[in-house]
């Protein structure tokens, strides 16, 4: 039987109540901040956030304050999965023993890419493995942004960061292709994970429904949210949503769900736009030569095929 949750029908019907309030030191046009607001809106009042170190810790809690209407705790960048596990078992046991009268809360980790798939990987994997009833959200801005934009495993091939500057010896900047968190966390290696999805801030209703669906599943769920970063990706701050949309249109981001291992596409474009359309507007890619762009296009095309997307793919030049 499919899980039951109250589905949000449209932008207009999105819940009015805010749980991520005005008043935080995130960049003007911050993609992760949009995702935080949408997640909090979808999750509602009975929610506890675990916020490992990253922009969404440092920028949100500057200084001795924070924008959340619901309980929030810091975790180290290393251990969000472990702290959330501790919170989850505590609530279970305290409720069982009758020591507290609380309704079991939504426990949501809002971890950056580093805190999820790099330095936070071990704790995240363990949360998934042990089956804690928590929603682990990876807000992916494709870099260690809080420290001033350094490469993370999610930085795309060819992305310039302060640790991967392009130069005559390394013309492409970042040399590696990113990890695939969906495959790592929800590709079958963590049997307790029954639900995982990718989402994008450019598709807010879809994102909010995936939050609700993830919370409705008993046990752990994973959400991988694409969150453009105007500072790190160097584009004007008003373009955050359009950059996110371009990522989906070019296949630099795929929107799908994995429910009990079965993939459902949330958007199935009939054809993908060439990857240049996505790269052109971002300062972090301005140094790329045609051969690098071709490599990226080949990577996108291969992923589309592996994931089973039946769209017309742009040629690789």
């Amino acid at each position: 039987m499919p899980v039951q949750y109250e589905k949000i029908k449209s932008v207009k019907k999105a819940p009015e109540e805010e749980y991520y309030l005005p008043g935080h030191r995130t960049c003007a046009g911050c993609g992760p901040a949009i995702s935080y607001r949408l997640v909090a809106k979808a999750a509602g009042r009975n929610t506890i956030f675990v916020g490992p170190t990253g922009c969404m810790y440092v920028a949100n809690t500057s200084y001795a304050c924070g924008p959340w209407k619901v309980p929030w705790t810091h975790a180290q960048i290393t251990n969000a999965g472990a702290v959330a596990s501790g919170i989850e078992v505590a609530f279970k046991q305290l409720i069982k023993k009758g020591k507290i009268k609380d309704e079991f809360p939504n426990i949501i980790v809002m971890a950056g890419d580093g805190g999820s798939i790099d330095i936070g990987l071990q704790a995240a994997s363990s949360l998934f493995y042990r089956g804690h009833d928590a929603l682990f959200i990876m807000y992916d801005n494709e870099s260690y942004a809080n420290t001033g934009i350094q490469t993370s495993p999610m930085t795309p091939y060819g992305g310039a960061t302060t640790f991967t500057p392009p130069g005559p010896v390394i013309p492409e900047g970042k040399k590696f292709f990113p990890k695939d968190p969906m495959l790592i966390f929800a590709g079958g290696g963590h049997p307790a994970v029954k639900y995982a999805a990718t989402a994008s801030i450019a598709y807010p209703v879809d994102l909010m429904n995936k939050v609700r669906k993830g919370l409705a599943f008993e046990g752990p769920a994973f959400l991988h949210v694409h969150c453009p970063c105007p500072k790190g990706w160097t584009y004007p701050s008003d373009r955050t949503v359009s950059v996110a949309k371009l990522a989906v249109q070019t296949g630099m981001w795929f929107l799908y769900e994995l429910e009990d291992g079965v993939r459902t596409w949330s958007r199935t474009p009939s054809k993908l736009r060439p990857v240049e359309d996505y790269l052109l507007g971002q300062g972090r890619f301005t140094h790329l030569e045609p051969e690098h762009v071709a490599k990226l296009q080949a990577w996108v095309n291969e992923r589309a095929q592996v994931l089973g997307l039946t769209a017309t793919l742009p040629p690789v030049h």
């Binding site: 005005p22 001795a64 304050c65 924070g66 619901v70 309980p71």
Partner: protein
């Protein structure tokens, strides 16, 4: 004379805000201010939903307005507007 320090809460634990976090007012970050053309606005609420700072206010009777105490002037609202009903106006064109 000894320097005096602010009072600090136990373990730096602070209460959650309920309406806005007025310890971090960001309205003075703005170099452009959003202005909505109410004639053109269709109340689709996309700008409201996508504002990172929850500073687009929607009211059924009044329509769209902006919480200028916090709006950072990022311009997302005007860029996502499907009918170009929001303009970004230089902040110094306003006295307040």
């Amino acid at each position: 004379m000894a320097k005096s320090y602010p009072e600090v809460p136990f373990a730096a634990i602070v209460p959650c805000p309920t309406v806005e976090n007025d310890k971090m007012v960001t309205g003075n970050w703005r170099s452009v201010r959003p202005v909505v053309d109410m004639e053109a606005c269709t109340s689709c609420k996309l700008c409201w939903l996508l504002c990172p700072d929850a500073s687009v206010v929607y009211d059924e009777a009044e329509g769209i307005s902006f919480n200028l105490k916090y709006c950072k002037g990022c311009g997302i609202c005007s860029s996502v507007c499907p009918v170009d009903a929001i303009r970004d106006v230089p902040e110094l064109d306003f006295i307040d």
